[in-house]
Structure formats: C-alpha cells, structure tokens
C-alpha cells in the first residue's frame, strides 16, 4: 500500500510540473524581438558564438576512451575477489581482456588512433 502513496506522489509532482509549464505556455504573452534574445546589458554586440566548434577528432578519441575505459568496471570486482575465483576466474578474465585487446589492435590497424 505504501507504494500506492509513492506512485500518487510521483504522479502529483509530474502533474503539477506539467500544469505549470502548460499554463505559462498557454497564458503567457509571447512577442519575440531580436533585442530580447540578446545577452542582457553586456555593452557591445556579440562578436562570435559562445560555442566553439570542436574538431571531430576529439569525438573519435572520446568514443575510444569511453569504450576502453569502462572495462575497469569489470576488472575491479575480479581484482577484489581474484583469490577466491582462482584459475577459472583468471582464465575468464584472460578471455575478456584478449577480446578487448583484439578490439584495440583492430582500431589501431584501421588507423583510428592516428590524429590526422
């Protein structure tokens, strides 16, 4: 029964939020002007976009970093328990690491690690 209360509460929170957003969208006046969207009282007009365009290389490095970084999530539980897991655990972790290592060799040979 306590879950019903939780659900009720969650529903009320959601409903209230949606109601406020909807009310402001429906009732509020909307007269966009270019002056309104400029930064408030900042003297000079904008020189450039505040967002800099990053080279796409960074994203490639980011992808590879995420993929090879997250393997530690599986290494740590094994490292904590490696005594109890024994040879079988070592073997299974060896298979895991060699598959990950294979992936590294593949991206290397395909040239994904080159900057240019």
């Amino acid at each position: 029964m306590e879950w019903a209360i939780v659900a009720l509460y969650a529903g009320a929170v959601l409903g209230l939020g949606v109601a406020f957003l909807a009310a402001s969208r429906l009732l509020g006046p909307s007269r966009p002007k270019p002056a309104k969207s400029e930064p408030y009282e900042c003297g000079v007009p904008l020189q450039a976009e505040s967002r800099i365009r990053m080279s796409v290389h960074f994203y490639l490095v980011a992808i590879l970093f995420i993929l090879f970084d997250i393997e530690t999530v599986f290494l740590i539980p094994w490292a904590v328990l490696h005594r109890q897991l024994g040879a079988a655990g070592l073997l299974e972790m060896g298979i895991f690491i060699s598959v990950v290592g294979f992936g590294l060799v593949y991206v290397w040979r395909r040239g994904a690690l080159e900057w240019e």
Partner: protein, 97 residues
C-alpha cells in the same frame, strides 16, 4: 528507501524529458545516459533493501552497456555530421511516407 526511489524517478524523468524535448542530438545522447543512471540508483536501492547483490551486478552490466551505447551513438552522430553538417533532430526529414 522512498527517497532513493524518488531520486531515481526524478533522474529518469529528467532524462526522458531531455530525449523528447531537446533537438540537439548530443544532448539527447546525454539525456539517454541520464535515464540509464537514474535506473542504476533504483537498482542499488533495491539491492540494499533486499539484502542481495543481484541489483549491484545489474548496475555493473548497465554501466558497461551504457558506455557501449554512448560509443555507438557518438559514432553514428559523427557519421551523420560528416554527411549532413547538422546534429539537429529537426533536420532528419529525408525519410517520409
């Protein structure tokens, strides 16, 4: 317990709102990650409530999967950007019936 579940639900809903409401696909990707991590909070809370470790094992799996998902998502985004010069979901209008 209830507090953790509310936190989890809040994170999940914020993530879902981000997926539905934002047009920049990079932010959509981050919102998806937020949804998965919201679930992680719930899993850890349940794991503690039930006094078993299954929920925590689940969380480790989810973290691994989320990383793979982020990798694939970013890669698809780069491919899209190289061809179309946009990361705005509103510009994806080539396929229509």
């Amino acid at each position: 317990m209830t507090k953790y579940l509310l936190l989890s639900a809040a994170l999940f809903v914020i993530g879902a709102y981000g997926v539905l409401g934002r047009r920049n696909l990079l932010i959509v990707l981050m919102s998806i990650e937020l949804m998965l991590n919201g679930v992680n909070v719930a899993l850890v809370a349940f794991s503690r409530a039930h006094q078993n470790l299954e929920g925590q094992v689940f969380v480790l799996t989810v973290i691994g999967v989320a990383a793979a998902e982020a990798g694939v998502g970013l890669a698809l985004l780069i491919a899209l950007f190289r061809n179309r010069r946009t990361v705005d979901s509103g510009d994806l209008t080539m396929l229509k019936g």
